[in-house]
Symmetry: C2
Subunit: 422 residues, 2 copies
């Protein structure tokens, strides 16, 4: 039988083409009751919401190019395959934290999954100044569980190697990160843009900053070569959907085997950027409580992460690394604790390194974030952005000599007072 | 057509089965002139030397189990596939340093390559006290070129990722290293053995040494997760053949994408072990010059390695890491030098870490080396082994705080005087 030809869905063609999928009947009801609307998911894909008598689903379809740019920027359909496999693994490692999948069609690069409602994108909630009481705990647990359980600390290593080989095919999406995150921001690359002329001076200074460039390339090397675990790969506040009580992590199409600290660093970085951007979304001092909540949620998430990672280290360390034969079975449980401390110390330094680079690429590179972009007063926006740029530089260069997350927060507050609030 | 069934060769069946291979006619002459003899290659495979009117070749065939142990220890034929692909890549990266391949038969797990004569195994030459004037230069260049050119410093990254996925299938041979090198030596594992009772006390001490165990597991994590480049994977003095003027690296069936420092560390480790073992092969002080030559050849190989790696960094750094756009193209060539210094500093520390672990596994684990094993006086052997164990512990634990290779040599000499020569 011939392989079916890829065809992009449209609002009109969708019910006819998906009517036969049994799982949809259960979730939606008969196809002639479906209401379909298209929603942009941001940059890359087609996304439809389909509502029927019995419920609603999201249909996400990859296109053979970047949706936002058009066919001048081709991007393989296979990213849908990686997203599907990443979602299944994440769901096994931290059940319920990703949308349930109802159907996957590899040839049509199509994933049908839960429609999350009334969830909103975390980035949007943060811009609106919403505090989310469960966020820190959910994300701390999610990061600890997915990162630990996908590594040689827990997995059967033959399975991990097979999985690593599978995800090594996600070349084009890794290439986006390799270029747009780790390289372009640090020189005058054609795809870059920044708030100009306000940031011109600091941008010139950062691009002439030798220590920063060397640090960013060190982090890039870790990204490329340090295949510790299956990472989400794009864990910013646009990849998380929230209500006051629920958190769901979406869009893992950038998943691959990489360093644990990529996910933790990118996540915290986006919260620190939100911290600096709040000033652009307040009329008066009304966001001060939000700023304090952001710093507190960072502290809490890191504490939850460390605690859960440590619990898994003690209870689920059944992979080939740091085997119990060497430690607990010899009565040397304190040796396992020492190894845990060393492990977390490395993860901490790398977390700060990736956090710093992420701040730079969001302000100097191609893919900016709405936290800053939606601040219309460019002078104010530039002040907020400068705060993040300065913190990012400090973290990337000094990542191995920073004591605690409280110290980073204290520095963020000093930078805020000196640069943003003035 | 059915896939041909794997059949082990014998001295008798070989000429008939290989007579039709065109490349052999050119290298050997007609099959009815061939003389075939089997030689053990050590532990894993069948190896035949075939001589004809016009020359000689080696025929190496994998068996579905470990030759030395028998079919109770199965090992996949596919290791021959990885060896073949590793040889072709090494030959492209440092031409002439591996045996030329005349034929590869995947189904028969068979590689036909140059018969190296009058080359001998480096380990044998060192035990005999032979100084090899070109060894340091050849091995320094080989390690720099293969390790640099297989990494994202030089390779097209899509090709490197495809290659990484290919070699991720070499699970069983990586498992041997993961278990026998990094884990078993550090507890009382069933496959271990050591010179007993002479070493019992130090073995107990090392297995109770928390810092050492944590360090060894850190190195194991790098082995498993740090996919920097295609490494040889088993670069000890039994994998190198030498004459006074030529050096050839053989047997890369353990190849995979791993840390650069694995190869450098294992190589230097075997030279330091040779240094300690010389005492067991001298009647009087006749090996003092050999000991000094060994220390000098270590210094020279590391200098050649650094020099060549640095040259490649400056001239062939065309991969996605540390791109010229960020450094040289901005006039910041000194930034590229700073990055090189940082890179080599990390490689140095990891080299010492892997070197230390390799010393331990050769004395405490399953696979001992002839340098020590051939010393019949077990008291003397244990003293030589103790020297290596002590140095190995020092290197593994203190790897990040050791200044230079000269300092390691000086320490080796102090340990030799205190422990071995007494």
């Amino acid at each position: 039988m011939d392989k079916p030809v890829f065809e992009p869905l449209t609002v009109e063609s969708l019910p006819g083409r998906l009517a036969d999928i049994a799982a949809l009947d259960g979730n939606l009801g008969p196809a002639d009751t479906w209401k379909v609307r298209e929603v942009g998911d941001g940059n890359l894909n087609l996304v439809f919401i389909v509502e029927g008598d019995r419920g609603a689903v999201v249909v996400k379809q990859a296109l053979p190019y970047v949706r936002l740019v058009g066919d001048s920027w081709p991007l393989p359909l296979k990213r849908s395959f990686f997203e599907y496999h990443a979602l299944t693994r994440q769901n096994a490692r931290d059940p319920g934290m990703v949308p349930a999948i109802h159907h996957f069609d590899e040839a049509q690069a199509l994933i049908i999954m839960d429609y999350l409602s009334p969830h909103v994108i975390l980035r949007r909630a943060l811009i609106e100044g919403r505090q989310l009481p469960e966020l820190a705990r959910h994300m701390g647990l999610f990061m600890a569980r997915t990162l630990f359980r996908g590594s040689d600390l827990a997995m059967d290593t033959a399975k991990r190697k097979a999985d690593l080989a599978l995800f090594a095919g996600n070349v084009e999406l890794c290439d986006i990160t390799e270029s747009l995150v780790f390289t372009d921001p640090y020189f005058d690359a054609p795809r870059n843009r920044h708030t100009s002329p306000e940031l011109d001076r600091i941008v010139a200074r950062l691009r002439a900053d030798r220590d920063l460039k060397v640090a960013a390339q060190h982090m890039k090397h870790l990204f490329c070569a340090n295949a510790q675990t299956m990472v989400h790969g794009d864990l910013h506040s646009g990849s998380i959907m929230v209500t006051d009580t629920e958190t769901k992590v979406i869009d893992p199409e950038f998943a691959f085997y990489g360093p644990m600290a990529l996910d933790t660093g990118m996540y915290f970085s986006n919260l620190w950027m939100s911290y600096f951007s709040q000033r652009g979304h307040e009329a008066d001092g009304s966001r001060e409580a939000m700023r304090q909540w952001l710093l507190a949620t960072i502290v809490e998430a890191w504490a939850v992460f460390r605690e859960e990672f440590s619990r898994l280290w003690r209870e689920e360390r059944n992979g080939i690394l740091y085997r119990r034969e060497l430690f607990e079975d010899q009565g040397d449980w304190l040796g396992a604790e020492q190894a845990l401390d060393h492990f977390l110390a490395g993860l901490w330094a790398d977390t700060l390194g990736f956090a710093g680079v992420e701040m730079h690429r969001r302000i100097l590179g191609l893919a900016h974030n709405a936290d800053f972009e939606s601040i219309e007063d460019t002078g104010l926006r530039a002040r907020c952005e400068t705060g993040a740029l300065e913190l990012g530089r400090h973290l990337a260069v000094n990542r191995r000599r920073i004591h605690s997350i409280e110290e980073v927060n204290a520095l963020a507050e000093r930078i805020y007072a000196a640069v943003v609030a003035r």
